[in-house]
């Protein structure tokens, strides 16, 4: 809401308060000033000057060399305007001046003659005839001869003024107006507020055509119309055009300007119809389905049966509260105006405006809410201005329809109750004074602490004592609160869930292994599934889609984290960050059916890049994660389409896959623009979080010495180390403390198709010191089992 200080002053006696002081007062009562705009900020160093001498330029047939008096000095200025002559009083841009459009004026030579400034036209100053008479002539803006020389031109143009851009919260539609804000400023600064007095004379109704009004929809609670006869369409006075300009509205003509002026000043949208285009009575009704109207913007709109229109007996003539029909507007030959002031349901205006894609100042205002009394206040203000500007004769006839004036809300409370949510004792007298300054009538009852408050109709936001508490404290001042520390509250246990704690611990484990945590958006590109080469029927392609995404890259909720991880990897690699380990723990969204909230599941992704990384470095992080949860898992070769088929694995928990990891498939890498060595893992954390996390039970530690033996066997190439390890463990039983791989060898001395695998076995018993014979028995068992199960022979 734009609030010019001069306009504010008309209703709030703020005296010489600075714009900063007004902004501070507004802020203290809950209205943030987003910007403080100086109306003349585009113009600088332009003053009123008199042409005291004007001679043709010696070297030009249209330029003149003038001597001008700026009140301070005499300057030589070269001027190209056709209307320049001695004795003119005109605006002169001095050296270093700024003009609209970012133009700067510097002394310079024009065909050999030095010019120390520039005489300006209205156009060069960014004004037209509505702001100052003569601004549109071909040539210099001629000012009255008695204008004081040296005066800042911004004063002459009404631009020496500050405008506050006030942010009005959604609960205060009554402050979407100069008068509404003036009331708040006056209360906040403790100065007098004077609402406008609207006086006008009417002419007698002489039986001319006046449409009757009928409301046929609950979406309009009040509709009033007045007839203005003998309308003279002309330019508005400068003061009105200038004020409109300060709030960003162009002056059109007196009638249109008055409706705009009243909208800004009182917050009531008005509409003026040319009576020639209304046939018979006015009906406020919902449109017929498919009914069409061409609006003032020249476009045709097809209406729905829940959209409110103003219609005459034949056709809709306006979309209620949004825009008039093409012929309804004011034209240069308009003689009789039907002026509408009405109250339409804000929800209806909002929905209709959105569906039609049609917005106007009026609809924007109606969407915020127009109260019952505003209709009368706005209309009366408009009629007073029509009278004042002699824009037409107001006929003493009314077309009014709608509900009766509702009762004002009465809240029975007490000072004590009002203070109960605030927490400090504010004297009852102070409370009453604050409420009254806001137009809330208060009444106290003898011998009781009851306080009866009557709330004006414009304050629809005030419903109970808590709302009054807010009014009181925002004027009394939040700085007066005395902090307490939940002085009356009971003790509560609180704390994080075991699940949250487990996730945090896991994050710390991963960090300990050199992984940095990433945070990614929850939505991903619709192309992600293709980039990951997922088959057409893959369940991961079944996603929840956004109806109004920011763009294609963020159009679906992710069902997996891998796409995000690879996108981050690609970004880092493209920036020359060539070695990193990253992880993310985040939610994915698995569709659960139309209209049902999707399943939100926590997953873990990891991505490794760099020369030193390989399948096994990533596997280590996967294994440690599984160990963190105590998960007993198996590995299968993975068929993930985005992983290298020979360097990838699926993690199987209880017979079900819970994740995959491995080297990125070259085709997928290409899809992400990744040329480097990248490894990626993803695990379903829900499955792991569901595992038993009861405290670990201690296992005894043997106090006997250990014995180590090395064992090297030759096996077929395809026999895996895991299979060999399993066999050794099974054959040796509980006295085998550990078995560790220490060498895999292929080459000389080993026939092709075979490899030599060497293990280091560590034996230890819980019961005794193992003797050589015991160890021999155990290693023999291992060798025998390896031979039988894996066709291994001792090397």
């Amino acid at each position: 809401m734009k609030l010019p200080i001069s306009w504010l002053k008309e209703y709030a006696a703020i005296g010489n308060a600075t714009p900063e002081e007004v902004a501070e007062a507004l802020l203290s009562v809950g209205f943030e000033v987003e910007e403080m705009i100086y109306a003349g900020e585009e113009i600088e160093n332009v003053v009123v000057a008199k042409v005291i001498d004007c001679k043709p330029h010696p070297d030009s047939d249209h330029l003149h060399v003038c001597m001008v008096d700026t009140g301070k000095e005499i300057l030589q200025v070269v001027c190209g305007a056709p209307n320049v002559k001695t004795g003119d009083v005109v605006p002169c841009a001095l050296s270093g001046a700024k003009l609209p459009g970012g133009i700067e004026i510097r002394p310079g030579e024009l065909r050999g003659v030095t010019s120390y400034g520039m005489l300006c036209s209205g156009k060069e100053l960014g004004v037209d005839d509505t702001i100052i008479e003569g601004a549109e002539v071909d040539g210099l803006l001629q000012l009255p001869k008695d204008t004081t020389l040296g005066t800042d031109i911004r004063k002459i143009l009404g631009l020496d003024e500050y405008i506050l851009d006030v942010s009005v919260t959604a609960n205060r539609p009554d402050c979407q107006s100069i008068i509404g804000l003036a009331r708040e400023v006056a209360a906040a600064m403790d100065v007098r507020f004077t609402p406008p007095v609207n006086k006008y004379k009417t002419v007698e109704y002489d039986g001319e055509y006046m449409p009757g009004v009928e409301i046929r929809s609950e979406l309009c609670s009040r509709y009033t119309g007045r007839l203005i006869r003998d309308v003279r369409i002309e330019r508005s006075p400068e003061w009105m055009a200038r004020r409109l300009r300060l709030v960003g509205i162009r002056s059109i003509n007196n009638i249109v300007d008055i409706t705009n002026y009243v909208l800004i000043e009182t917050g009531q949208p008005l509409h003026s119809f040319d009576i020639r285009f209304i046939s018979k009575g006015i009906v406020v009704r919902t449109a017929e389905k498919g009914e069409k109207i061409t609006a003032l913007d020249g476009k045709e709109y097809t209406l729905g049966d829940d959209m409110l229109v103003i219609a005459d007996s034949k056709k809709p003539i306006a979309i209620a509260g949004i825009m008039g029909g093409e012929y309804s507007g004011i034209m240069s030959d308009t003689e009789t105006v039907f002026l509408e002031a009405a109250r339409f349901d804000r929800r209806s205006v909002r929905v209709t405006s959105r569906r039609l894609g049609l917005r106007s100042d009026s609809s924007a205002r109606y969407e915020k809410g127009v109260d019952y009394t505003s209709v009368d206040e706005g209309r009366e203000r408009a009629l007073a201005l029509i009278y004042k500007l002699k824009a037409g004769r107001i006929v003493d006839v009314r077309s009014d329809a709608g509900i009766d004036r509702p009762e004002e809300r009465v809240i029975r409370t007490s000072a004590k109750q009002i203070c109960s949510v605030i927490g400090i004792d504010i004297p009852a007298k102070t409370i009453e004074k604050i409420l009254r300054s806001l137009g809330i009538a208060t009444e106290t009852k003898a011998r009781s602490d009851a306080l009866v408050c009557t709330v004006p109709l414009r304050r629809e936001d005030i419903e109970d004592f808590a709302d009054l508490s807010e009014e009181v404290i925002r004027y009394y001042g939040y700085d007066n609160l005395e902090p307490t520390f939940l002085k009356s509250a009971a003790c509560t246990a609180g704390g994080e869930s075991e699940r949250d704690k487990a996730i945090l611990s896991l994050k710390n484990v991963l960090c300990g292994m050199g992984l940095y945590e990433m945070t990614n958006y929850s939505f991903i590109s619709g192309k992600a599934a293709d980039m990951l080469i997922l088959p057409p029927d893959d369940e991961r392609r079944n996603t929840v889609r956004l109806l109004n995404p920011l763009g294609e890259d963020t159009s679906e909720l992710r069902t997996r984290l891998t796409h995000s991880a690879l996108t981050v990897a690609a970004l880092n690699l493209s920036r020359g960050n060539d070695a990193f380990r990253l992880f993310e723990i985040g939610k994915v969204f698995i569709p659960a059916g139309d209209g049902v909230q999707p399943h939100e599941r926590m997953r873990l992704s990891m991505v490794y890049a760099g020369d030193k990384e390989n399948f096994y470095t990533l596997k280590n992080a996967v294994t440690e994660t599984l160990r963190f949860f105590g998960a007993e898992t198996e590995l299968n070769r993975s068929g993930q389409p985005y992983l290298h088929p020979g360097m990838s694995a699926d993690v199987i928990l209880g017979g079900k896959p819970v994740g995959s990891f491995g080297r990125l498939h070259p085709t997928a890498a290409e899809n992400y623009g990744i040329a480097a060595n990248v490894f990626v893992a993803e695990l379903d954390l829900e499955a792991l979080l569901a595992l038993d996390r009861s405290p670990v039970r201690y296992s005894p530690i043997s106090k006997f010495p250990c014995v180590c033996r090395d064992l090297a066997v030759v096996v077929k190439d395809e026999c895996s180390v895991g299979e060999l390890t399993d066999t050794i463990k099974r054959a040796c039983g509980k006295d085998l403390e550990s078995v560790a791989l220490f060498d895999v060898y292929k080459g000389e001395q080993i026939e092709s198709g075979y490899k030599s695998v060497a293990f280091s076995l560590r034996f230890r018993s819980l019961e005794k010191t193992l003797a050589d014979a015991d160890i021999q028995k155990l290693t023999d068992a291992a060798v025998c089992a390896l031979k039988n199960e894996r066709e291994a022979r001792l090397r």
Binding site: E32, L481, F485, L486, A490, T492, G514, T519, N572, K587
Partner: protein, 338 residues
Amino acid sequence: MEEQIERLARECREEISAAGSENALYAVRVKFLGKSGLISELMKGMRNLAPEQRPVMGKIVNETRASLEAEFAAKGKQLHEKELAEKLASEKIDITINEGSRTGRLHPLSAVRQRLVDFFVSMGFDVMDGPEVETDYYNFEALNVPKDHPARDMQDTFFLGGNLLLRSQTSASQVRYMEEHKPPLKMISPGRVFRNDDDATHSPVFHQLEGLVVDRGITMCDLKGILDEFAKHFFGKDTKVRFRPSYFPFTEPSVEVDVSCAMCHGKGCKICKGTGWIEILGAGIVNRKVLRTCGIDPDEYTGFAFGFGIDRIANIIHGIPHIKLLYENDIRFLEQFR
């Protein structure tokens, strides 16, 4: 014979002192004191001595042997120390070389979130996680924002069809929590929220922390008390807190809360845009309608609620200029947070 002993002892001492290594010293020792060494050989000649001379000579030989042993030990120790020192010196390495893997770190958002959680948990707050895909009811209706209410324009919401949306505020968790728990209650709900807003200062995904206390006799002063502590804890003990009246449909009275700028201590700088204050959160007394909707009697209980952006707190604490940096995951960014 006595002379022979003295000569041998003299020769031995000379050779001990000449020995340059433990090995050389050992050779000297074998030569003189070994089983068939010179001293032993000399002892063999004792047989030829007169019986009464034998004990005298024996004593001299033994004393000489003991004194030489002591010298061998001393020299041995000296040589050992010298050799160890040489060995250690030769093993000197370049300590400026780095090897091996480094540890990673939590994302600054996680780290700050955890600090916030720890702070409120220490005061008895429960921690709740709500769904990110919410229904219109929990995100708006139950929070006193009916359909087509202008307050819906305060946030640009992502819609998913039907009555589903991506929650635009963690306040949605308030209602769910109050449906499950009855007062006295204290809870926080940190989590991810979404707004259809993407420019230099906005990210479509960000994080909020919602706080809620409902009990008998809760006031704005209690809210001020908690937020004072919060501000001191996170922005420094001299931090001041300012309440400004504002509007949220789910609180009444509602306030915007500013903290004094930690950079300029209220003088006005670039960070606080010259005002000396930084807006950090919205709060207020829980609207009586909201309590009633959740089945809590507003005449018996009152409560306060507050909500702030975790991203914003992280950015203020670490001086991160753009919210987008948090979601790029450039490793050079992530590595900075020790």
